[in-house]
Symmetry: D2
Subunit: 233 residues, 4 copies
């Protein structure tokens, strides 16, 4: 993204934020006590190059999710992965719904390597992998029922793409009653650097939450941003 | 079921039916033009003996579903199977929800032979197998969205158990707006012979519908009930 | 219900219970800590005579629900009422769905006296009245989202009719992850006396739960069953 | 919106569109044969000034919706309105869910003038008004069931706000299987002139569809854009 575009985006978000603040919006939902980690569509079709669905900035996202997984597993935080995959990608009885009229959903064949979770962040035994058919991880899946029966009250949502599946999942999480945390201090705006992704150092969040320390400290990474990493916030 | 009990059941149903008819209930929903076949939980845990979930009368049900499958495939009627299976059957992060507090859901391990569809009625390529977590085939699954995007307006529901998963699926089908046909000429009452099951000669139904002949004809099976088959209706 | 039929029913339930127990079913789900009270369809069409939907035994049900309401309000337990009502009961754009093809749903006009909650158990300010379109109180309503955002983990379901709306609501409550308590010590079987209803002395339940006393004590009513009341259990 | 910002937005959208087109996205879903009109949150809190929820450009939106209503009613197209309103806006048993932690949902009291549909576009008898609790018109409502039982296969979505309730409704419509048409020739991008709204001359759409004429003709309005109207497209 060019500097020019980034500058424009920041101008737009800043103007919008001011309107909302003046009207009493932009309050904080806060966190609960029983979080779950939801990794959206971090399967090979999205995380590896040369696919119609390939996303950028995996050098940032994969390590961040690895950190999050380590922290979640250490605390027995339930881990859920989603992928999008279809059993029937041809003919009149497909399960692609309307989407293949709009996007190349026919590339996402259930059982193919493309639809499996990236093995750099592989699911472990005891973790859920939900093969969804739609953008939202809640739509047409058992995710809401699963989270509820576990007493989950906060969802930490990572993955791609932010403007599509992550956003719709986040909207549904609010609607369903699970306070969503899309990372990056819950900001509703895309990362100014890697706009379509969910880039943040989620590891810090869990640490920050546990330490109950001041939020400002979240931005000081013990590791420091690596080369090419997203430095936001 | 003893004769005594069957007699009592018929008395109760008959009394109930009279009340409902007098009050203007018991109308007919009728059929649409684009049916789908939904086979509920005809996986080995239910269709084979010696499992906590084993159901009786498979000598009737399996051949009837085989006939239905043949007829459906010949007409490109979408075929859906469900099974009930859990990825995590132990520990605090299980996807069994509340059910394992009530029934031995922990026996239904996702990926096990028990949870696979009975190979006498095996799914073919292009058919959906939905691994659900709850009784209803609609709850927490993409079934409703799948049926709708295909323009399905009638569901033919088979399988087991009738008082549990089949019933809840049928209730949800009505709620969702798909006229359900539980076979047996849409009767709401259990088969007087094999009460908990869904025993009927579904093949006749599709034939009957195609021929648009009088409903009374549905009961004249070209094959005739085999030994041990349910003769209802 | 005649003695003969009641006797038959008890025989059937007893035989079924034995099968289930032998197979490891019939476990107890138990209770949570934050209950809500859900009163199903206790509107005039069901609670008053001479309507196609009229139910019997209101001399038992209304006082029992009055007791439950008093106890719930004293403890700030959230109270929800449902009624079933349709905005458009004629023509092609009705919201009755499929149901009017089966039952006289066209009698349930939104805004009519028939669809309002019986004023003997009138909702108070701060309580929810949900006008549903289907049998289940969860289907096509905000009930699940409402309960979840309040942290409700147990639902106490009363009302009518037991074989229809109460049952479907109970099934969905289990599916959604809210342990349902249909009163009457959570039995899955209809009351042997007033079979289609949900008649029990729910007041005792809340007391019993609070006292954490032995379940057997629940049956000793401080008031004693009045004339014509259901003495079950 | 300043010219500078608008220019930046167009640059961003243009760059994005090129990426998507190169990858085989941006296909057309097309239309069905049985549309319904869904008017999102055109209640006084949004359509009138001096409310925290007030939206701009009502001089464009209200006449456009009036035209759409006239056309829809002439063809017996089902009309649905939504509003967002809460029965309990105070205390622990509120139905506002998480939203009041984020936005001033407590201003939207069910039954208040603010939550009623703007009387310039008042519902007629036989039209549905759905009081939703969440952003999406599908979430926690009977909308999907209603549309399905009517055989609706296309939804025309108007209203406000575009980045919130209209967007989430549109996403859910795709997920549910109803091809959504947010007007403006189905563009996924906000109107360059009145960014957050849904500004288009929907009347032309219905005409265009009826005439089955070339899409280019849709932009020639018989009325011509009035002063201050959105001229997009």
């Amino acid at each position: 993204m060019s500097d020019e575009v980034q500058e424009a985006l920041e101008k737009i978000f800043s103007a919008d934020s001011e309107i909302y603040q003046n009207r009493g919006f932009q309050r904080r939902i806060g966190f609960g006590k029983r979080p779950a980690l939801i990794n959206i569509d971090l399967a090979n079709a999205w995380t590896r190059p040369d696919n119609a669905f390939s996303c950028d900035h995996m050098d940032v996202i994969i390590p961040a999710v690895q950190d999050l997984l380590t922290a979640s597993r250490a605390k027995n935080v339930p881990v859920v992965y989603t992928s999008t995959a279809y059993a029937v990608t041809d003919g009149p009885n497909s399960d692609m719904g309307l989407w293949h009229h709009k996007i190349p959903a026919e590339l996402l064949q259930l059982g193919s390597e493309d639809c499996e979770i990236d093995d750099r962040i592989a699911p472990q035994s005891g973790e859920q992998v939900i093969y969804k058919k739609r953008a939202s991880a809640f739509h047409g899946t058992y995710l809401a029922g699963f989270l509820r029966s576990l007493g989950v009250d906060t969802v930490i949502i990572t993955g791609v793409t932010m403007a599509g599946c992550v956003r719709h999942t986040t909207e549904d999480a609010i609607a369903e009653g699970f306070p969503p945390d899309r990372g990056s201090r819950g900001r509703r705006r895309p990362c100014p650097r890697c706009r379509r992704m969910e880039p943040v150092r989620h590891r810090r969040q869990i640490r920050g939450r546990r330490a109950a320390g001041p939020r400002a400290r979240l931005s000081r990474s013990p590791r420091g941003p690596g080369r090419g990493e997203c430095t936001f916030p």
